[in-house]
């Protein structure tokens, strides 16, 4: 029988320690295509005269905040890959195509080329499956990645030099209730965290959703005309501010607790589950988040928020 020496045990422990992955940051990173449109990247066909600067500057601050943080992959849950039969994961190493927003095709026609961390995706998939969640890997090469994932991916890291894990939005809220949706997303968040830790990788997790989500049903002649941009109603504003206050003061459990009311009354895009999933991956933070920006896009409320896990780990 092999009996390891103290030297061997030290090496094993070191290896175990090295293999320990971690979530280095979590972010609320909304995806309205207007932001990419206003940035005028070469990948997007339409040309804008700017617009939505408060949010674009917010993304700048987020990128600046994380520029010295090392990580291997980005995990995104996007409400615009809507699946009704469980939760799906992109399962091929690369996707390239043209993404045209079916709602705002005048603003978003983006040529994307993105790499996927299939191993990590599969690890999360397998853990979710073991936990009893309905899951599926997406391996059809003709599949077009949703514009929510692409917008968040571009605004968060326009270099596209980190592989992504892309998770669909299981519309369990539509089938059941916000409460059931949250149960499933809390569980998905938990196994996502476990898989990341076991993977040995450093990861940023992104929830790609707006807050209040009542749109204008008209568009100004110049879409980026900021004199026309405002929240759709005072009630939506109050809800957004309430949720932001919870984030800034480390009261994320209250967000979970009030999610049913928020989702119903603010018609919030939290119905897609991304926000609950994000908070779960971060173990429902009790420390303050950094608000990098807030603004409206065609009347919807959007906040760019960072939970700087790396700082609290150091502390």
């Amino acid at each position: 029988m092999y009996i390891p020496s103290a030297y061997d045990i030290g090496n094993i422990l070191l290896a175990c320690n090295m293999a320990q992955g971690e979530i280095v940051a979590g972010c609320l990173a909304p995806h309205p295509p207007h932001l990419v449109y206003a940035e005028n990247p070469e990948q997007n066909e339409p040309v804008a005269e700017g617009g939505w600067e408060q949010l674009r500057w917010g993304y700048e601050r987020l990128r600046e905040s994380l520029k010295d943080v090392d990580y291997d992959a980005i995990v995104i849950l996007s409400p615009h890959w809507q699946t009704y039969v469980g939760t799906h994961f992109l399962g091929l190493e690369n996707f390239q195509s043209l993404s045209v927003d079916p709602v705002f095709p005048n603003l978003f026609r983006y040529h994307y080329d993105m790499n996927v961390d299939v191993d990590l995706a599969k690890q999360i998939h397998d853990k979710a499956h073991s936990a009893g969640l309905a899951v599926k890997m997406m391996t059809n090469p003709d599949f077009r990645v949703d514009y929510g994932t692409i917008t968040t991916g571009h605004m968060f890291r326009p270099e596209w030099d980190k592989p992504l894990v892309v998770i669909s939005s299981n519309r369990s809220r539509a089938y059941y209730s916000v409460e059931v949706m949250q149960e499933m997303m809390v569980e998905l968040g938990r196994v996502t965290r476990e898989a990341i830790i076991e993977s040995g990788k450093k990861v940023v997790v992104l929830a790609s959703n707006s807050l209040s989500h009542r749109h204008f049903t008209t568009e100004s002649e110049i879409p980026e005309d900021m004199s026309k941009e405002h929240i759709t109603s005072h009630a939506m504003h109050l809800w957004d501010m309430r949720i932001i206050d919870y984030m800034k003061t480390g009261q994320c459990q209250r967000i979970i607790d009030e999610m049913p009311e928020f989702t119903e009354q603010a018609i919030a895009e939290t119905d897609g589950g991304a926000f609950t999933w994000l908070l779960s991956t971060l173990e429902v933070p009790k420390y303050p988040a950094i608000l990098h920006g807030y603004g409206t896009i065609i009347g919807t409320g959007n906040a760019i928020v960072e939970w700087p896990v790396y700082r609290y780990k150091e502390a």
Binding site: T83, G86, L98, P102, F143, T217, T218
Partner: protein
């Protein structure tokens, strides 16, 4: 050219199984066969246009119409991607789409055409067009389902479409791509285990199909909200296609209906139903909802000027346009403020009554009124008013079988020449100025309603 008409209507399912996997499940195969039968009915009808209202294309900014003459791409379903890909290359009637778009706008709807390479045609439309028009011989038009639209808006959308069908003399097929009950199984199931998700869903589906097979389309339309509550998962688009399809069929309850197939796809209730305009003899209906021609709901929230509504309580009463030999009147133009027609035809000429910017149905003034009900002056947009005048002129001329291109002579009236001439002249240059009529512009003290511009037009037929 004889007036156009709806020659057939269909309800068809949206999921890709009928295209990609009809052999994996007996029910999916039956739906595919029904799709093929429907394609034959369409072929036999000698239809020259397919009109698809798809519930799998939700829109936010009003109603969107595909106007790319030949959209091509590869469609992969977000849920059932493992079934494969559908390559499509469709024959779209872009001209019809543009006319429908204009008519929708004229009736108060927010609408726009979509013509971008790579635009993702939705799964419902792809499946329907792939199977109903396999050789692509019949041009098609596809309209989105607005997530915020309710019955009146959806009805007006259909009426705008019907009006263009009528005017262009088309033999059109109206198609709704939709599920009945839409609750799917939320986990993977083997194809052989597919069935309607619940007995309750099945019973409601059977009731809907009983009505449709009796030709009672409007009854189903009036039950839409109830059906939505009973057997529909609250996805982004409600059970509104029946409103659209019913309005496309004049809200009739005496069509000739036939259910070609009813089966489950992953738990959802899927049917292929044919509705022919031949009278079935039923016809009784309890019609308890407004039969709207023009949408006047909440819109224009972006533009504070445009949201100012005309207070008609102090303004002149609106009249029904008068009828006399040669008179031309239309619901697409604002009602007169006296006893006169919109236009009168004499020989090859059309004489239009003075046309202002008020909107048909709503009486709102694009660009805002010039004063409030107390006579306090308001800021207004002369360019928006002038454009609205030109649009109203175009509608009246189209009703008379003419067009804006046939305008010969215009007399314009401005209530503030110093303030407004420049803006008025700019819009003129971009619209009637390109047609080339003679023009006289006069400054006057006031017009009967709180508007800043009016035009008197003579045109040829």
């Amino acid at each position: 050219m004889s007036a156009g008409e709806i020659v057939e209507s269909f309800v068809v399912p949206v999921h890709p199984h009928t295209v990609l996997a009809p052999d994996l499940n007996e029910g999916w195969g039956k739906l595919r066969q029904a799709y093929d039968d429907a394609a034959q009915i369409i072929k036999d009808s000698e239809a020259d246009l397919l009109i698809i209202y798809s519930t799998t294309w939700p829109s936010i900014i009003g109603h969107q119409l595909i106007s790319d003459p030949n959209p091509e791409w590869v469609m992969v379903d977000h849920d059932f991607h493992e079934l494969g890909s559908i390559h499509y290359s469709f024959n779209i009637d872009a001209e019809f789409a543009a006319l429908w778009d204009a008519e929708s706008k004229a009736r108060g709807l927010q609408s726009r055409c979509v013509n971008y390479r790579g635009f993702p045609i939705d799964v419902g439309s792809v499946v329907a067009l792939t199977l109903l028009n396999p050789d692509n011989k019949i041009p098609a038009v596809i309209v989105s389902s607005n997530v915020y639209a309710d019955r009146s808006e959806t009805t007006v959308l259909a009426k705008a479409c019907k009006e263009i069908v009528r005017k262009t003399g088309r033999k059109a097929v109206a198609i709704t791509a939709m599920s009945l009950s839409n609750r799917m199984f939320t986990e993977h199931i083997e194809p052989e285990n597919d069935r309607i998700h619940s007995l309750k869903d099945d019973e409601w589906n059977q009731k809907i199909l009983e009505f449709l097979s009796a030709g009672r389309l409007e009854d189903v339309g009036q039950l839409s909200r109830t059906i939505q509550q009973q057997i529909r998962v609250q996805k982004v688009v409600n059970f509104k296609p029946m409103w659209w399809l019913s309005a496309m069929n004049d809200n009739r309850n005496d069509l000739t209906g036939k259910v070609l197939a009813y089966e489950a796809i992953h738990g959802a209730g899927c049917a292929v139903v044919n509705l022919n305009p031949a009278h079935s003899g039923f016809g009784d209906k309890e019609y308890d909802e407004d039969d709207v021609e023009v949408f006047s709901g909440e819109r224009g929230v972006l533009d504070t000027i445009n949201t100012v509504e005309t207070d008609q309580s102090d303004g002149p009463a609106l009249w029904e346009p008068t009828e006399a030999e040669g008179s031309v009147n239309t619901n697409s133009a604002p009602k007169p403020v006296g006893a006169y027609p919109h236009a009168r035809k004499v020989g090859d000429l059309l004489y239009l009554s003075g046309v202002g910017p008020r909107q048909p149905g709503t009486n709102e003034i694009p660009g805002g009124p010039i004063h409030d009900s107390n006579g306090n002056a308001l800021n207004y947009d002369i360019k928006a008013q002038t454009q609205a005048v030109v649009d109203n002129i175009a509608r009246i001329l189209e009703e008379a079988g003419s067009s804006i291109n046939n305008v010969l002579d215009v007399t314009s009236f401005l209530i503030d020449m110093d303030r407004d001439f420049k803006g008025y002249n700019e819009v003129w240059a971009e619209t009637l100025g390109k047609v080339g009529p003679t023009r006289t512009t006069l400054a006057i003290r006031a017009l009967p309603t709180p508007i800043a511009v009016e035009m008197k037009v003579i045109a040829s037929i």
